[in-house]
């Protein structure tokens, strides 16, 4: 809980992913040309890719300060299991940095010509998918905690892991736009979220222990 | 034999460049594995030899 407050205090940093997202989302129509048909077709994928890149931004250096300033040691010493502390840290980061992107996503989608209900489906996929992506990416952040920041290494490590969620998030939206019934795919996204939520915090905790030699 | 002559074999019915470039790249990679190991092995041996010589002196 203290983390959420901290994050909101650092509003500048929290705004970065969302600003980045907006910039990317605007660049694409400018780069691709204003053909409404084209924009409508690529919108789900485009929004999703932009969202993924924004999440990467939110993930960079996620645990670095905690490792450097000794917070991690305190976590290890406290009574709470490390995986729980990790989960709350990641959740706080998601709320502060990624939730704005999820909320903005459908607005961008509407701007690209998607219908209202398709934009809602897109938001739903983002809402289910970005936490999963965040957890997967946090594993990478944990592994890279001792490393220098800003290198593209985090992207290289975790983007392959993001691919299934990207495929299902964007694909489900596109299928819906094409008139298909997508409850099965949404359930799959939900299942991935639940699996990530139950399995990944422990893995992230293990990663933190490994890279600090504990 | 599936081919009537050596030149037919090399040509592979117009597909020669594709087939042979694929296998060629593979052979290059295999040779590269061998060369890399040979170089590393030599480096390892030299390292040990130098270390022993330094400790003797």
């Amino acid at each position: 809980m203290r983390d959420v407050a901290l994050n909101w205090n650092d509003l500048g940093a929290a705004m970065r992913p969302v600003m980045f997202f907006a910039l990317v989302a605007v660049s694409f129509p400018l780069g691709l040309g204003a053909d409404p048909q084209l924009l409508r077709e690529v919108a789900p994928g485009l929004v999703w890719v932009a969202a993924l890149l924004s999440v990467l931004l939110a993930l960079d250096g996620l645990f670095r300060d905690d490792v450097l300033d000794g917070t991690l040691e305190q976590w290890l010493l406290s009574d709470l299991p490390l995986s729980l502390t990790v989960l709350s840290r990641v959740t706080a980061q998601w709320i502060a940095h990624v939730l704005p992107v999820v909320l903005m996503g459908p607005l961008v989608a509407l701007g690209l010509g998607l219908t209202f209900d398709t934009a809602l489906i897109l938001m739903a996929t983002l809402a289910l998918g970005t936490p999963t992506v965040m957890l997967l990416g946090s594993l990478g952040s944990a592994l890279l905690a001792p490393a220098r920041s800003g290198s593209g290494l985090l992207g290289l490590l975790v983007l392959p892991l993001f691919i299934p969620i990207l495929v299902f998030g964007a694909g489900t939206t596109m299928a819906y736009a094409g008139g298909a019934e997508v409850s099965a795919q949404m359930a799959l996204l939900g299942a991935m979220f639940v699996a990530a939520l139950s399995l990944l915090p422990a893995a992230i905790a293990a990663a933190l222990r490994i890279v600090t030699g504990g | 034999m599936a081919f009537d002559s050596v030149s037919e074999f090399l040509a592979m019915g117009r597909h020669g460049p594709y087939v042979w470039s694929s296998f060629g790249i593979a052979v290059v990679c295999f040779v590269a594995f061998a060369i890399e190991d040979r170089l590393n092995r030599r480096r390892a041996i030299k390292k040990i030899q130098q270390a022993v010589r330094r400790e003797r002196s």
Binding site: L139, L143, L144, P146, A147, R148, S151, L153, L156, L157, L159, P160, L161, I163, P164, V167, F168, G171, M174, A175, A203, A206, A207, I210, V211, T212, G213 | M1, A2, F3, F9, M12, G13, R14, H15, G16, Y18, V19, S21, S22, F23, I25, A26, C29, F30, A32, F33, D37, N40, R41, R43, A44, I45, K47, I48, Q49, A51, V52, R53
Partner: protein
């Protein structure tokens, strides 16, 4: 039970792996190159022409073995990663280091041969079909494993890479499934590489031989690299110095 434990521990000791490994290395090497020659000569010169694809299908004797190998090597590394993380056998870290570049090159080879094969078959070097795309992602997984090590302090790097590999291996089936589903969404023209009729024995026998050959060669290459890495790492060890002394003089 005690016997298995002994065996397990013996393979954790560097001198044992180095010395006993030599025979395995030789065995794999001889078998691998022999089988490869047999498989490739048979496949290239003696197997019948494919009526659909002409002679370009012969790339299959290279592409399929390396594609299978690329995936198997990753799984082997993940298994070694588990051994490192759970049983803390340090040799597993060297096994991973030995295998990563081999696997990456093999995956690259699979991609390149797949692309070259695609040109005469579909008219284009690259298609976003399920298998090629999954193979590309696999290459990134390999590259990620290789890139992580230099970024971390050396005492923790081995286990970090091991964890990354284990997580990666769990993801591989998920990635494959998702890419296949994505492919069905976007199936424009029917670009199915593999819906072939059953192969006659004159084709699948050399194929199986080539696959076996490639796996043996992988064993050869990994053992070769592993033993060299052992020499590099253990330059202070008595067994290493004795061996160098005998073979090369000190």
């Amino acid at each position: 039970m005690a016997r298995t434990w002994q065996w397990f521990h013996r393979w954790g000791s560097p001198p044992h792996v180095f010395h006993a490994g030599r025979q395995w290395q030789l065995g794999f090497g001889v078998a691998g190159f022999a089988l490869l020659t047999l498989g490739w000569v048979w496949g290239l010169a003696f197997a019948p022409v494919d009526y659909q694809q002409g002679n370009s299908y012969r790339i299959i004797f290279l592409h399929v073995p390396v594609a299978f190998l690329a995936q198997s090597l990753y799984m082997a590394m993940a298994a070694a990663g588990l051994v490192l993380l759970v049983w803390k056998m340090k040799i597993a870290d060297l096994v991973i280091q030995a295998t990563l570049p081999i696997g990456a090159v093999i995956t690259f080879l699979a991609l390149v041969t797949g692309a070259i094969w695609g040109k005469p078959t579909w008219g284009t070097y690259w298609v976003w079909d399920a298998r090629l795309t999954s193979m590309l992602i696999l290459l990134f997984l390999y590259l990620g494993g290789m890139a992580l090590r230099p970024a971390l302090p050396s005492d923790v790097a081995g286990r970090a890479v091991a964890l990354l590999l284990v997580v990666g291996v769990i993801n591989i089936p998920i990635i494959k499934y998702s890419v296949e589903w994505w492919n069905t969404l976007h199936q424009g023209a029917t670009l199915k590489l593999t819906e072939r009729p059953a192969m006659p024995a004159s084709m699948w026998v050399p194929l199986v031989i080539s696959i076996l050959a490639m796996y043996c060669l992988a064993g050869f290459w990994v053992l070769q690299r592993l033993r060299t890495l052992l020499l590099l790492r253990e330059s202070k060890a008595k067994w290493a110095r004795e061996w160098v002394g005998e073979k090369y003089g000190l």
